[in-house]
């Protein structure tokens, strides 16, 4: 039982890291960003290349993957996202989905369509209170906690963070002060995407790499964002861990239904608390 909880928390942690970017973009710009799944996938694939072709160690490869995500996401922001401000949500969905399609095909082209394995970089477990906890997963939780603390500090203490918090609440008021809010939302977009890539890096040793993994995780993240509330940082964390636990417990008792259960929860939340976007 505790093992399942630990498992759920790990999944929740990764979901949190990936979903933050999505939640911010959704909340800040009202844009459902399917392309986020692409950056997540690329994070994993670049890590793979770093490990195999470049022979780098997992952590260095991971950092490299996250760093590569930054210019890429900036490109997406400039070429696609920026043009979607104020547009009807449907076109945002279609356009960002198109980016995902293009990217996934490019991935299939470069790396092939077959799943690629990435192994657990540590491979050891530590005993704790009668449980067998894979050290890698403990580290994931640690990274998660650091991310949460880092983001909390960022949004409370830095001026950019405060601008974004204000902008999430009232865009026009921020503009009326003379601040080009779009520029800061773009920064947040890149930050969120980098976190998405980090999520991709962290998750690959747990599952394996395949070109459609982005699409797959994306819907889970939408569930997190919707349950947690758009642009709501604390809500996203709570929702991510809650849904992670849902997945873990469902997975334990009825394996394949784990993900479907998340969608059921999301549907329930949407029914009782529909969002206005």
């Amino acid at each position: 039982m505790l093992q399942t909880i630990f498992h759920g928390l790990t999944i929740g942690g990764i979901l949190y890291i990936i979903s933050i970017g999505l939640s911010l973009t959704f909340g800040a710009m009202g844009i459902v960003n399917f392309a986020h799944g692409l950056i997540y996938t690329l994070g994993g694939y670049i890590l793979y290349t770093a490990l195999t072709t470049l022979g780098l160690n997992f952590w260095v490869g991971g950092v490299l993957a996250v760093l590569t995500a930054i210019p890429l996401s900036y490109l997406i922001e400039r070429v696609v996202i920026r043009r979607l401000y104020g547009e009807s949500i449907d076109y945002a969905i279609i356009a960002t989905y198109a980016v995902l399609l293009i990217g996934v095909d490019a991935i299939k082209w470069i790396w092939g369509a077959r799943p690629l394995p990435v192994s657990d970089p540590i491979g050891r477990s530590i005993g704790f209170g009668g449980l067998d906890l894979p050290l890698y997963r403990v580290i994931i939780l640690g990274i998660c906690l650091l991310t949460f603390l880092g983001l909390s500090l960022f949004f409370k203490k830095t001026i950019i963070g405060k601008i974004v918090v204000a902008g999430l609440q009232d865009r026009e008021a921020v503009r009326s002060l003379g601040i080009n809010i779009n520029k800061y939302f773009a920064i947040i977009f890149v930050l969120g995407s980098a976190l998405g890539a980090l999520g991709g890096v962290l998750y690959t040793p747990i599952t394996s790499l395949h070109p459609y993994m982005g699409f797959h995780v994306l819907i889970l993240c939408f569930a997190v964002v919707i349950v947690g509330g758009l642009g709501n940082l604390r809500g996203t964390a709570v929702a991510a861990f809650a849904l992670g636990l849902v997945m873990a417990f469902t997975g334990r008792y009825w394996g394949p239904a784990a993900e479907a259960m998340v969608y059921v929860v999301m549907a329930l939340v949407l029914i009782f608390r529909p969002i206005e976007v």
Binding site: I159, K162, I163, V165, A166, Q169, D170, E172, A173, V174, R175, S176, L177, G178, I179, N180, I181
Partner: protein, 230 residues
């Protein structure tokens, strides 16, 4: 001439909401816009502030055309918009609110803080409270204090006393009066006692157009001359 609006027309989709608006503001003036709900006062203010694009016509501020420019650029040129409904950044502290406003200007935060306290000494105790906890009157004062940062030339203020108790309205009126010396203002107001006390000139709006301009100080001081238009 500080602000010149010339034959401004604004549409929401295919519906026309402002018809051929022309007005002028001289430096140092406090001009009030009065009219019924739906007369187009907020729309006019929003268009001047850059939040709406006019279909035709021009707006010139300090000799430069500003119609169609984005609001953040207009704000940096010295024209600030103070929204209705006393919208502050509720998740941030009072100090943070000022910090944000000071950020794009060259004004140091401490100066902005001192100015706010100078306007309303009670603010000093509230500096580190979340803006969410402020009363209506305190919020309006915070908004005014925020808008003054960077020393803009013109403020556009939308219904500053709406929903406030009489005593608080009096406080706001004093603040606005004290600002008159340094800054020009266009204020949308429904409270005619306030208008009669503060305004140098009045524009009456009706159905999206300027109906009448009142510049005679005697007429301004007696609301019965214009109260029928509300």
């Amino acid at each position: 001439m500080l602000l010149t609006v010339d034959r401004l027309n604004v549409h929401y989709g295919s519906a026309q909401v402002l018809h051929d608006i022309s007005l002028q503001i001289k430096a140092g003036e406090l001009v009030c816009l009065v009219g019924r709900n739906g007369a187009g006062k907020t729309t006019l203010l929003k268009t001047i502030g850059g939040f709406l694009k006019p279909t035709s016509g021009s707006i010139s501020f300090q000799g430069n055309r500003i119609d169609g420019r984005p609001p953040e650029k207009v704000a940096l040129q010295g024209l600030r918009y103070v929204f209705q409904d006393k919208r502050v950044f509720s998740e941030l502290t009072v100090r943070d609110n000022l910090e944000l406003a000071a950020f794009p200007t060259k004004e140091p935060l401490e100066q902005a803080v001192r100015r706010l306290i100078g306007i309303h000494p009670k603010m000093e105790k509230l500096l580190h409270s979340k803006a969410r906890g402020l009363s209506g009157g305190e919020r309006q004062i915070l908004l005014l204090g925020r808008a003054l940062i960077g020393e803009p030339a013109l403020l556009l203020i939308d219904e500053p006393t709406e929903g406030l108790a009489a005593i608080i309205i009096g406080e706001i009126a004093q603040v606005l009066e004290s600002m008159k010396a340094r800054i020009s203002m266009i204020i949308v107001e429904q409270n005619l006692a306030l208008v009669s006390r503060l305004a140098d000139r009045i524009y009456i709006m009706k159905e999206g157009a300027i109906f009448q301009e009142i510049s005679d100080p005697e007429h301004i001081r007696q609301p019965r001359h214009y109260q029928d238009y509300l």
